[in-house]
Symmetry: C2
Subunit: 220 residues, 2 copies
């Protein structure tokens, strides 16, 4: 069913993909070695050239895999935002609710879910050090998400300049991303052992409260 119709082995390809997400994420493309990945996946090194054409092909497959998953995850919310119209005070309240929904999903994904943490390592690497694969990520979901957030901010705060709205959208994203990027600093600074569900809840509350404070109307 899920197979592509050819006679591939049961799991080799998928094992490699999953292992590659972790190894590429932790070490980056250059330092990650095909030997590490093959070992982590419990398959033979020669399976990488065989299934993916080589190290680069495997990396691109990882990017496609991640982008697909995130598009599926975020798709519904993005469509909801794209399809909505924000007029009057009800529109404003709707926009604020949607901003809240986006940020909560984002923090849950990036700091709360195991898969989100694995994916975000690779995405953050591409943010700071774009490879040719960056384009797939940017077009796949970064740009749609950034656009959606900018629209919501304009609707919620009355901001009319799209560039200003984008800058504001970035600050909202930044409040979330920092808990992934500086995870170690937070954990050491507060002497934690990772984020507990309670701490995640506190973080979520702070982020939402900030977002609401930031998107007040200038007149309020």
């Amino acid at each position: 069913m899920a197979k592509k119709g050819n006679t591939h082995a049961p799991g080799t390809r998928e094992h490699l993909l999953e292992a590659a997400i972790d190894v590429f994420g932790r070490h980056g493309f250059d330092s990650a070695t095909t030997r590490m990945i093959a070992k982590a996946a419990n398959v033979n090194i020669a399976a990488i050239p065989y299934y993916f054409g080589g190290k680069s092909g495997l990396y691109q497959a990882v990017i496609d895999y991640i982008v697909d998953h995130i598009k599926k995850e975020a798709g519904e919310l993005l469509e909801q935002i794209g399809g909505a119209t924000f007029t009057g005070d009800t529109g404003r309240q709707l926009a604020r609710k949607l901003i809240q929904a986006v940020l909560e999903r984002f923090i849950n994904f990036i700091a709360g879910s195991e898969q989100g943490q694995r994916f975000s390592r690779i995405i953050l690497r591409e943010q700071m050090f774009p490879s040719p694969a960056y384009d797939t990520i940017f077009k796949g979901f970064l740009k749609p998400v950034l656009n959606a957030l900018s629209i919501l901010i304009m609707a919620a705060s009355g901001e009319s300049d799209p560039r200003q709205a984008t800058f504001r959208a970035m600050t909202l994203m930044g409040q979330v991303v920092i808990f992934r990027v500086a995870r170690e600093t937070i954990v050491r600074g507060l002497d934690l052992e990772g984020y507990s569900p309670e701490e995640l809840e506190e973080i979520r509350r702070v982020i939402v409260a900030n977002a609401l404070a930031i998107t007040e109307m200038p007149s309020e």
Copy 2:
């Protein structure tokens, strides 16, 4: 004067340090090669073992160099914060002014200055993927800065729980850091060519406005 008293060559050591900041920053410790660094510094590869004991020694020297510079840069402001007392409404206003000052310096450093951009590549790498050198950075300035910001937030907003204050401090840092981490995404999303002085000024304004909105008293 500044020399350590021995008879070293005029610039070889310094050239290596400067080049290493860029190469380690762009490629990470593992993927950076001593060949790249030596070539960028225009010195012989053998100078690296000679001056720094090897690749690892050079990396540690880079970390020390960066931490020293930033401590010098941030020291005055940190002392001012540590030495101040924040009582009553004047204290609150002072705290808000100081938060503003910290954020403005931070965004100028991280997105505005050439040196800050070079330094921050390495620091952000250590944030996401700590090496043994992380400790130097954490104790050197991350912890002091995070503490200072937390104190200011408690003074400015009336927040009394230190953990909550730390989370809030992180969100403020996140708003700044995102303009470095996601620089490429912002630039592509808005079709810019890097941040112009005008755009930096807009970003600075957004960050400060958000910080002020966030640190309102709950009663306000």
